[in-house]
């Protein structure tokens, strides 16, 4: 349709996309400032129309950011190199999915996408709680608008993706090659932002609660689903990041304790602690200040993480770019830190609750321990990540704090957590009957011993690996026991079939059993990580065509070298046949990709993933005439369980937030039933 194309061309000539985008973000910035002021004034002066207009601003911003993002995607897809961001990451040679995904591949686009997610969360959270929560809700909206204002300010200022490029280049360099190698790149950042940004909502309501003086549990109840949903996305994002590193980086690992990995992990740790300690607050009215501190820390850690990776304070694999944006973030973090701390400490006397628990041996205590371990874990990771900075400030010397440190310090904590994951579900609320407890722990205890012995028999000699296997089995049995008990009770009471009993069990107590499912997922991840690192078998070999190499049960044969020229890169690959006991089971193609303008090639390892182990081949080097090639041959057991476990965790969280029809509603006259004595 030449006419339409002509009109589009005309639009592009005028730079309409740019203008639309700029207008959208600038308006959004203005509206967010307005909304923030209107909300605060409306709450203080009790002016409903001001509050309503603040809400309207939030809704409008969602639309504006959507428009800006659509405009950017349009500019990317049509290769409009007059737009600054497109000139930075666009390329005619990139496949379509890479072009769309490059929206979040560099700083400016990622902030634009962040703005979209934030505006959407703000709008939905405001809509769902409108007129229900009084001043607290209004202050929450104000907080979300304040955070939005910061990000829109970045978009209008130092991270403006809609800058003008003149003269207009014909082509662009494309996004970072590391980001073009795998489809998971399309998935990891959106998940991460949905998780990160999602934490803004419970934080906003916590601030709202403190500002409004509503220091009871209402803010927790209102935001529970938001927190669990954000946590679910964050868990999936970390999983996707690990999977992507594994498939792309070539060293067969999935976690390097790189600062940006730590940046995503720390809020996850505090959020997980929070998910547990709020249960203590709900049941006991205790730990109110602690919970407010936890959610504030979670939010702060998300911003700190973003700051660390975008400001050049710490060097990292992920570091986007440096520049004035660091100062903006620092000021923003300072404001949040000060406001939160002032509110928390100022309200501390009002937040003191009558702390009472029935007995030390109870789920309450386990949750306290859970929080302790998670706090120490977060502190350790934060300290390790920031220590190079501290050491340079104090000693003037550059030091590195890398994987060996983090592994050494956190592995014992992980073992403790695995133990708690088992003990928590087993211990009832309030007080445990010691006889019942001992009975319940027999089978798990046996599982612990069996697993540890099996691990030892298989060759594990590391004490922590054995403990991990043991506690994992212990925890698995404990959590499964809860299902068994619950299903049995239902069947006895209602005579339901096994399937129906399980389904109804979930439906009636989705929060609890969803949580146990998440536990099981976590155990799968722990076992996968322990097994793949303990029993990992790595060799390096230089092979000539036709030569074979044996590693464990696999024999590989290097067939030949091939080369492929693609628009954005030149790839050299090896064809390798895989045999198990003389029977060919597949072919793998590890390759090296040479991107234009980069010195070192980017490897694409070839992975054959099975339930029990992965065969991982990486092409290290080759002779140009194809006479030989050097490979890393890696056999890692149970890697699949890490990814599968991650999905199970997310499934558990999802089940926990689904709205279920309650079988019974609130009955204030009813005495809470004691925990049944087990079956």
């Amino acid at each position: 349709m030449p006419e339409a194309a002509g009109r589009l061309h005309f639009a592009r000539e005028l730079g309409l996309t740019r203008i639309l985008g700029l207008a959208a973000i600038t308006t959004a910035f203005g509206l967010s400032i307005y909304g923030l002021i209107a909300a605060v004034l409306g709450a203080r002066l009790q002016r409903a129309n001001l509050v309503r207009s603040a809400r309207a601003a939030a809704y409008a911003n969602a639309g504006l950011l959507a428009a800006a993002n659509v405009a950017m995607i349009y500019a990317l897809v049509t290769h409009d190199f007059s737009v600054g961001y497109v000139a930075q990451v666009g390329s005619r040679a990139s496949p379509l999915w890479v072009t769309i995904v490059s929206l979040w591949s560099a700083l400016e686009g990622s902030i634009l996408f962040w703005g979209l997610v934030l505006s959407a969360y703000t709008a939905v959270a405001t809509w769902l709680t409108r007129d229900r929560l009084g001043a607290m809700g209004t202050y929450a909206t104000a907080t979300m608008l304040a955070v939005s204002a910061f990000f829109y300010l970045l978009l209008v200022g130092p991270a403006n993706p809609f800058g003008r490029v003149f003269p207009v280049p014909i082509d662009g360099p494309g996004p970072n090659p590391l980001l073009q190698n795998h489809i998971l790149m399309a998935v990891h950042p959106p998940l991460l932002y949905l998780g990160y940004v999602g934490m803004t909502v419970p934080f906003a309501f916590a601030i709202g609660a403190m500002l409004a003086g509503r220091l009871d549990d209402v803010w927790i109840r209102e935001t529970r689903r938001w927190t669990v949903t954000a946590w679910m996305f964050l868990s999936l994002a970390i999983m996707a990041g690990m999977w992507w590193s594994y498939e792309v980086l070539g060293w067969g690992g999935y976690w390097a304790w790189d600062p940006v990995e730590n940046a995503s992990f720390m809020p996850w740790l505090t959020a997980t602690a929070f998910l547990h300690s709020v249960m203590v607050q709900e049941r006991r009215g205790m730990l109110r200040m602690w919970n407010l501190t936890l959610i504030t820390s979670t939010f702060l850690l998300t911003i700190l993480g973003t700051f660390l990776t975008r400001s050049g304070v710490i060097s990292s694999v992920h570091a986007f770019s440096e520049g004035p944006i660091g100062i903006y973030f620092l000021v923003f973090i300072s404001i949040i830190l000060l406001v939160s701390l002032v509110l928390l400490t100022g309200r501390s006397s009002e937040l003191k609750s009558e702390a009472r628990i029935d007995a030390p041996m109870s789920r309450e205590t386990v949750f306290l321990l859970n929080n302790l371990v998670f706090t120490v874990f977060t502190f350790t990771v934060l300290l390790g990540t920031l220590f190079p900075l501290v050491a340079e400030a104090v000693r003037g010397v550059k030091v590195s704090v890398g994987a060996p440190f983090f592994n050494r310090m956190t592995v014992p904590l992980c073992a403790m957590l695995l133990f708690l994951v088992g003990v928590g579900p087993v211990l009832p609320w309030r007080a445990a009957d010691m006889q019942q407890l001992k009975k319940k722990l027999v089978v798990p205890g046996a599982a612990f011993l069996i697993a540890a012995v099996l691990g030892f028999a298989a060759g594990a000699r590391n004490a922590y690996a054995l403990l991990a296997f043991g506690f994992a089995a212990f925890a698995l049995v404990c959590n499964l026991e809860e299902y068994v008990i619950g299903v049995r009770a239902r069947r006895r009471a209602h005579g339901e079939s096994l399937l129906s009993a399980t389904g109804r069990l979930f439906a009636a107590n989705n929060r609890r059993y969803g949580g146990y499912l998440a536990h099981i997922g976590l155990i799968m991840v722990a076992v996968g990580i322990t097994a793949s690192s303990t029993f990992r078998h790595e060799r390096e070999a230089t092979l000539t065509p036709g030569e074979t190499f044996q590693s464990g049960k696999y024999t590989i044969r290097f067939e030949e070298l091939w080369a492929r020229d693609e628009p954005q890169r030149f790839s050299v690959g090896a064809e390798v046949s895989v045999f198990i006991r003389d029977r060919q089971v597949g072919t793998l193609h590890p390759k090296l990709n040479y991107y234009r303008g980069r010195d070192e090639p980017v490897p694409t390892p070839a992975v054959r993933s099975r339930l029990d182990r992965d065969l991982y081949l990486n092409l290290l080097a080759f002779q140009r005439d194809g006479s030989n090639a050097t490979f890393t041959i890696l056999v890692e057991p149970m890697v699949f369980w890490i990814w599968a476990g991650g999905f199970v965790v997310a499934l558990g969280a999802l089940l926990g937030v689904l709205p279920m029809r309650r079988r019974a509603t609130i009955n204030p006259m009813r005495k809470p039933a004691a925990e049944p004595a087990g079956v």
Binding site: A319, L341, V342, T345, S348
Partner: protein
């Protein structure tokens, strides 16, 4: 709302902010430079194009030695090539010796590169296995090491050298040499 208590909150926040602010002043990509101030490590490398010839550090005792690590695939090396060649010529008679040390590259590539760049006024050494480079704490190319006549490393430049830097360092080293005893 207890305002006095909230002051303690501010007391916690300030050191953290100060630390992060300090971090902003640093360059995360800067690499540590441990070699200057220590004696230059001994080496024995073959000369490119004259394989029978070996150059050792001690052959140049009493002379200022400039070692430039480079490769033909190194983009930044192109920027400093002219500076190095011209400075080498300018200081030719003054007991200042320049060598290029090839890093992770083949002599054929090196020769084509030199030809493409219009020649080089000093010879190149081949560092097979990168042992000598590692001994000199190499973190990449280009890097330039300046060694005093007494065999001390006085400067290690990570990245391209400027003419001003080279001349200043060389002049100060030569001035020390010719100072009255």
């Amino acid at each position: 709302m207890n305002w006095k208590r909230s002051l303690s909150g501010i007391g916690v926040a300030l050191p953290i902010i100060a630390l992060l602010g300090y971090g902003l002043t640093l360059d995360p990509r800067s690499l540590p430079n441990a070699l200057p101030g220590s004696p230059a490590p001994e080496f024995a490398l073959a000369v490119m194009d004259v394989p029978s010839d070996t150059v050792r550090l001690r052959d140049h005792a009493g002379q200022v030695l400039v070692l430039n690590f480079w490769a033909s695939w190194c983009l930044e090396c192109r920027h400093e090539h002219r500076i190095l060649s011209e400075t080498a010529e300018a200081y030719a008679g003054k007991d200042v010796v320049f060598y290029g040390v090839l890093y992770n590259d083949s002599p054929d590539n090196a020769r084509s590169w030199i030809q493409e760049m219009g020649g080089q006024s000093y010879s190149n050494l081949l560092d097979n296995g990168t042992r000598m480079a590692i001994d000199y704490g190499l973190t990449g190319v280009p890097e330039t090491v300046i060694i005093s006549p007494e065999g001390q490393v006085v400067h290690k430049q990570i990245g391209v050298v400027t003419e001003a830097l080279l001349r200043t360092k060389l002049d100060s080293l030569l001035a020390v040499r010719t100072a009255p005893q």
